[in-house]
């Protein structure tokens, strides 16, 4: 038996063991294994491997949510993805007052540092140190204010998310469908919060680094709520509630908002 032929036979044995051959190809590989001790041993080993791999729990895994809930998540994500110009505008609108405030503050500092005019109607030019401060202070202040505002916004976001999670824990019965609960408002609020969360992360990644794990947990739960239909099954809500409890989310939000508010 040539080496080349035997390599081909070994390959067919592997494919046979993986259940990837059918019909004549499978019969031929089987017949060859019956007449070749090395191939038969190979086949037996690989079949044991396949049996072992069949124990992998992933093979029987089912998605934790149904197609409808996933569709709602995809739609929420598409809306989010379609929002960048709005987010950019929101960011610009948010920074505008911060910039204006910083400029005002810087002007005040420069005014204080400026020599008070006495008799001369045209004051002397400001000393070099004041000119340097004039150039340096606004950036520093803007940065500090941005940080403070990001942290405040994040704390507010977490507060509102916590409030939402508490509301979800006590849902109203759905009037349109019996044995269902009405979470239309909560799902809509979750989508709004998720859009705000994207803005927060985009703006102040480092400023809120310490709370990122909690933000991630909150985001996960909000996505679950956002994906619920307006009349949801109680057991879906209970699953979300269990997740909130498992992650100790309410307590973590308390701790993090306290830290953010300093």
């Amino acid at each position: 038996m040539s080496g080349l032929f035997h390599r081909g036979a070994r390959r067919r044995t592997s494919l046979l063991a993986m259940g990837a051959l059918a019909g004549r190809e499978a019969d031929e590989a089987q017949a060859h294994a019956a007449s070749c001790a090395a191939c038969a041993e190979d086949l037996a080993r690989l079949r044991r491997l396949r049996e072992l791999m069949a124990l992998d729990p992933l093979r029987a895994a089912e998605p934790p949510i149904g197609a409808a809930a996933l569709l709602a998540r995809v739609n929420a994500r598409l809306e989010e993805a379609a929002a960048p110009p709005a987010r950019f505008a929101a960011r610009a609108a948010w920074l505008l007052p911060a910039g204006a405030l910083a400029a005002g503050l810087a002007a005040f500092l420069i005014y204080r540092a400026w020599p008070t005019p006495t008799t001369s109607p045209s004051p002397a030019p400001p000393p070099a140190v004041v000119r340097e401060a004039e150039a340096a202070v606004p950036d520093e202040l803007v940065r500090r204010m941005e940080r403070t505002m990001t942290r405040e916004q994040t704390a507010r976001y977490l507060d509102e998310a916590q409030d939402l999670l508490l509301t979800v824990a006590a849902p109203r019965p759905c009037e349109r469908q019996s044995k269902r609960v009405d979470v239309e408002d909560e799902a809509a609020r979750s989508r709004q919060l998720l859009a705000r969360r994207a803005l927060l992360v985009g703006m102040g990644g480092e400023d809120v680094a310490s709370v990122r794990p909690v933000l991630r947990d909150v985001e996960y739960v909000l996505r679950e709520v956002a994906s619920l239909p307006s009349c949801a099954r109680e057991k879906d809500l209970q699953a979300i509630q269990r997740e909130v409890t498992r992650r100790n989310l309410l307590m973590k939000i308390d701790l993090m908002t306290r830290e953010l508010k300093g």
Binding site: R10, R11, S14, L15, A17, M18, G19, A20, R45, L46, R48, L49, L52, M53, L55, D56, P57, L58, R59, A60, A61, E62, P63, P64, I65, A67, A68, L70, L71, R73, V74, N75, R77, L78, A81, R212, P213, R216, D217, Y220, R246, R247
Partner: protein
């Protein structure tokens, strides 16, 4: 008559989001298993599948109407899962994520309710398989995953991964032997 995948893609290309529902209904389970085989985390795999359909919708206007939808979605799922896995690895180094309780993870991963012994064995096997799979070259891994987790025919794998049938066969053969070497002594 039910619309074909191609019909649905045509509707998506026109911006009709309603077409996402039936397309997802057909493919999301198997895409989930593929993503799970790479990511080994239910939340991550679900997020990956979500992104597959987001990308499918966004790329629909550029989709070639002659190509098959299933293999195209599968390719997106594999590529996205690999990217996500790599990002996850980088993130794990930077941060310490909340670990999911192993028992709970099993409960979420399996639809049935096996005995505790079988569950334990399944978990051990699952961890070893994950580690062995991570050691496979990218192409071998993709072929192995599609055969083992999605039970795809070799011809279908070839179409999905844009490989010749011969390459698929050699890749699977090599992957199987590597897996056997790495899992030897497990049972």
């Amino acid at each position: 008559m039910e619309p074909s995948d191609r019909d649905l893609m045509g509707r998506l290309a026109q911006g009709d989001r309603e077409a996402l529902g039936p397309l997802m209904e057909r493919h999301y389970r198997r895409l989930y298993r593929i993503a799970l085989s790479y990511l080994r985390n239910a939340d991550e795999a679900l997020d990956a599948v979500q992104e597959v359909f987001v990308k499918a919708f966004q790329a629909a206007p550029r989709w070639d109407p002659q190509s098959d939808v299933g293999p195209w979605l599968t390719r997106i799922a594999i590529n996205h899962s690999i990217d996500r896995y790599r990002r996850g690895r980088r993130r794990q180094v930077a941060e310490a994520p909340l670990e999911e309780d192993a028992g709970e993870r099993d409960a979420r991963m399996t639809a049935d309710d096996p005995s505790p012994e079988r569950r334990l064995l399944g978990r051990e096997v699952g961890e070893r398989i994950a580690s062995a799979l991570n050691g496979l070259p990218r192409r071998q891994r993709a072929v192995f995953v599609l055969r083992h987790y999605d039970e795809m025919a070799l011809e279908e794998i070839a179409r999905t991964l844009d490989m010749s049938l011969g390459t698929v066969k050699s890749s699977l053969h090599r992957a199987v032997h590597r897996m056997r070497e790495r899992l030897e002594g497990l049972r």
